[in-house]
Symmetry: C2
Subunit: 274 residues, 2 copies
Amino acid sequence: MSATSELHPFDDAIALTPAGEHRFTGRTTESYWNMIGPYGGITAATLLQAALQHPQRLGDPIALTVNFAGPIAEGPFTIEARPARTNRSTQHWSLELVQNGEVATTASAVFAVRRDTWGCGEAVFPDVPPADAIAPLPTGFAPVRWFKSYEMRPVRGAKPAAEPGTEHPDSLTQFWLRDHPARTPDYASIAAWCDSFYPRIFLKRAGFVPAGTVSLTTYFHADAATLAALGDRHALGSARAQVFRQGFFDQSAQLWSPDGELLASSHQIVYYKQ
Amino acid sequence: MSATSELHPFDDAIALTPAGEHRFTGRTTESYWNMIGPYGGITAATLLQAALQHPQRLGDPIALTVNFAGPIAEGPFTIEARPARTNRSTQHWSLELVQNGEVATTASAVFAVRRDTWGCGEAVFPDVPPADAIAPLPTGFAPVRWFKSYEMRPVRGAKPAAEPGTEHPDSLTQFWLRDHPARTPDYASIAAWCDSFYPRIFLKRAGFVPAGTVSLTTYFHADAATLAALGDRHALGSARAQVFRQGFFDQSAQLWSPDGELLASSHQIVYYKQ
């Protein structure tokens, strides 16, 4: 982000205008356009943003689930963000994105006030080279616009290495990631980053098939200060599937700070056709 | 289940009565009572059941997210199950459990018509002894009533092995599981089974601390015929945490058939105090 007052494309994309009680209006932007609709990560971030900027918000995000129920067309949409229940230190949100009178996306979020407790990182930070040892992927690497809004430095699994028609031994992709232009992460951008892995079936089957996320759940393990301290450094993303069966596969992903702290874990179930 | 017409305790626990459009009434039962409310797994199963028995249901469950927003007291409750969007082969549900005028639980579910496609099980079935090589835990092993509604045969991590006050090297629990009395699994019971692991922090910290699931997401990887074919055989459950930090830890779980097929994967974020 430069020192000018110009909005970062990410902040522009998730910008919402209050439109009555529990209601906001937003619109798609070109910077995060996917094949035939907005990038799922930006939709997730925008839904979370509605709760983040709601006047009744309590605490910070702990969990976010986004269900991609139908297509979103270019243009305006409405988000309803309703605090379904507010407790002393936790808050549960029910969210819906509506466009042209139809529900396009449903979501839920849990917010909470984080407290200092005993803690332990059990999962082990992967043994990977640092971000500055790896060249970024060219911005034209993937034929979708949102890809240009990220800077990715691939550790492995950037693209199918097997011959088309053969089966890749695993579906593991790892890359260093930040926004492009660089932007200090916050909960909204972490929500988006967790969807930045291309569908695992592209890697597994060494080719492109119709595929799209159906439901995406993200757990936020870092507090706001930890995210802010990341600055313009990269996070390490890692994603892998467990099973591909009858038109659906899963994906589990982790986002790590370069210091080896697990920032978020994220899971999704993805439709595929083939 | 005997040949009499008596309902299995699980079917009794998730029984719902239609109460108007998109609305059902149910009630807690003793068989699945936890410390101060119903076992979270039975609440998840009951919410899913509302969509399963809704007259507008399309296909079978793919994903279920349940947010435990507040306590559920002994007695009756109402579930609202609204098909937020129905497409040609997928359907998105918004669900709420209300008791005494307050939202106690919110949930969403994705249903779909499964189709034969290319498939691949990438995750590897754990190397464990068969169920019949392991003695079941005594029904009084855990001081909660719902535990007696399951038959568990522990492979590892059944209880904390470390000295209280010390830290267990990992949070991995594996057991063979079926309903008690035995009952052929279906989507509702799979939803419940996925919450049958005691809080990972009990194992990690070798002792009991206040803890409760905040949000639970389950992906169903098996079709109805695969579940029915399981009969009264056990499923292998496996669960582990990645990080414990600032009052919340995660858990990822798998449920496997004895033939090595991944039936479901499930993730949750859990509150803890200490």
